[in-house]
Symmetry: C2
Subunit: 397 residues, 2 copies
């Protein structure tokens, strides 16, 4: 009934249709813009860097192109880490190294970045795919593992030492993890290598967060002092219930990622004031900031060694005055009826029984130790001993 | 040479391949998760709302599900508006109305949300496609037009009056536009309708921004007082050069969007303190906040009418004490070497020659009027007149 000619025609039709279908698929999946060799300041719609290069004309950044010479490692590609990686990608960072062992789940969809069709993929794989599409000029290296196991930690150390551009160390490590162990692993690695890093965190009740700059030997490391968080005026008992899953909000995580990457840009490109610690209390829109020196009694030996080296370096250099004043925000009367609204939360440090530092209002320690009932005292000096106990307890959490 | 049987076989192969190819395409393009009838608090990986519903268990929000009953209009779907829309979508807002007349360009790729393959599409169309994929439970209505033209303004008024869920007015309008005219159009519409709205803005040098809550009759509207911005300690002359394209950063815009949507969530769901005005100075990580009362001499007649109605309502209700204290952040010495870092920028209000309000340090007026050389005085009271002149001048900018 059908002639050979008709069959051949049908085959040609089908072949054409198949080519078109595959082309369409390829367009959608791989619609990469061409790579750009040199960042241009030209003000045309087709230039993805025009609004960033404008920072030079505005007098904010002296040499924006320098961003291409930097590599940053992001550990933890969740609610904060993924947005952090996206911001750095859009800013045209030279290289990003991503570390995470988790998979994308629908339960992550209340935060920015990942999309429902990525559920089931590893976070680093899904992130790399999206980020490469956004900016093919950035180099990516991803590791789908938990940095806290012995083997992975060794590999992690190797990559942050040699995974930067041209085999150099990375310029900065960003901790965007959600647990104490991973933070301590990063802290240990950075103390050993003398690697500057920034830490970030969001509270389990989703309404506070913070960022912190850690320069080994110079500022307090994660083992120097109890990790600090912003008090959110929330009943601790409600928060610490066993088996309760943490709450999260795209707003809080977006703000923390934004403040973190802003600090990274200021640090790498040399503009504005880099924050040592900046907290965010969403309930009251309160943003405490401060700086914390390294603790000479830190129980991390590498931290103590870095402190010695920092002291030597400081002694060799001519002394510079450090400005540490704080101006008050003044409450003024005026004919326009402008009024300042209370923005400072109550400090809740009363429960802490360990050697808790005096902190600015609104900042709290992340962990407190229970009252020592019946624990026998050592011969070691009281204050030092309880600090070490505190750190040991925290490590076991 | 080829038998009919062989040709038939080839056709079957091609048909199968084509089906597979189209299926793959469809999966990638329309991998929508099924709609969810009722928000569940169940802690499983497949529940996109588990981390939001956890806000109830954490004691932050009493009735999170209520978010589904609200509709929000976002005017301007650029660097701030697109992220704002994405955050609200991921939070599960009931309905979003998006207004923008712009197209996606590669020059937008230094901000979050849009991707290079969307270049050339209208912003509202591209945004709706992405947002529907992220959360099919949200209802969307998009308008690809400029709200400041007469016809469009009438249509805009109609949609914010009847475009909410079940034909009700929208619950909130968010201004995420980048120009004075559009802000004034929203202000005019909201004053006439008594519609609460929030305004947002980012400076042309990309390093400061703000959000502001405007409740007609209660707080200052956009015509009551010169729009306020956070001073960024930047040379104004560098900034105001003609023909210079504005700089922008994904960080600043992400932070402003995060603070804006956080304020929306607090306002709609009733938790924390809703901010009237919150500024962000990225150079110093300084966040001034304040509140501003409506101006009885506002030249917007609808604003004055709303003020009268507000006064009547207030008089009818039993009086409540308003807390307007501000606690100081205290600088404390301590054994841990914690130091507060200066976070307040210098006020730069000296250049302003008009009747500029006394503002907290770090906040500035967005527009100042040149010194009145040779302008003849009117018989109208001096202060009122110059205010009106200021507003008239601003409208002409």
């Amino acid at each position: 009934m059908t002639t050979v000619e008709e069959l051949r025609l049908r085959i040609r039709e089908l072949e054409n249709e198949l080519i078109k279908s595959k082309q369409k698929q390829s367009d959608a999946e791989h619609h990469l813009r061409p790579k750009i060799d040199k960042m241009s300041a030209e003000v045309v719609d087709s230039n993805p860097y025009s609004r960033l290069m404008a920072l030079k004309r505005m007098g904010i950044v002296q040499d924006y192109e320098r961003i291409r010479s930097y590599s940053v490692a992001v550990v933890g590609v969740g609610g904060v880490g993924s947005v952090t990686a996206e911001m750095l990608t859009r800013c045209g960072i030279g290289k990003l190294l991503l570390f995470d062992y988790d998979k994308v789940e629908l339960a992550n969809m209340n935060r920015l970045f990942f999309q429902p069709h990525q559920a089931g993929l590893s976070k680093v794989q899904a992130a790399e795919h999206t980020l490469r599409n956004i900016n093919p000029d950035v180099a990516f290296e991803t590791h789908n593992y938990n940095i806290t196991t012995m083997d992975n930690f060794t590999h992690f150390m190797e990559r942050i030492s040699h995974g930067g551009l041209e085999g150099k160390p990375v310029d900065l490590i960003l901790s965007c993890v959600d647990n104490f162990e991973a933070r301590m692993a990063i802290n240990t690695a950075c103390n050993e290598l003398g690697q500057t890093w920034m830490e970030s965190g969001v509270s389990e009740n989703a309404v506070s967060g913070h960022i912190q700059l850690i320069i080994p030997g110079e500022t307090a490391c994660f083992a120097c002092a109890p990790p600090l968080v912003v008090a959110a005026n929330i009943d601790e008992k409600t928060l610490k219930k066993d088996g309760v899953c943490a709450a999260s909000l795209p707003t809080t995580m977006g703000v923390v990622a934004g403040l973190l990457v802003q600090n990274v840009l200021k640090y790498l490109l040399g503009f504005g004031t880099v924050s040592y610690y900046l907290g965010y209390n969403a309930m009251q829109d309160f943003f405490p900031s401060m700086a914390m020196k390294a603790n000479p009694q830190c129980d991390n030996a590498h931290c103590r060694r870095q402190q010695e080296e920092y002291k030597k370096k400081e002694a060799e250099q001519p002394k510079q005055e450090v400005v540490e004043e704080e101006e008050e925000v003044v409450h003024e009367d005026n004919e326009w009826g402008i009024e300042l609204v209370s923005e400072v939360s109550e400090a809740e440090l009363q429960d802490a029984s360990g050697p808790v530092p005096d902190l600015p209002e609104g900042i709290n320690v992340a962990y407190t130790i229970p009252k020592k009932d019946g624990v026998s005292g050592d011969t070691v000096e009281e204050t030092e001993q309880s600090l070490e106990e505190l750190m040991a307890q925290m490590k076991n959490m």
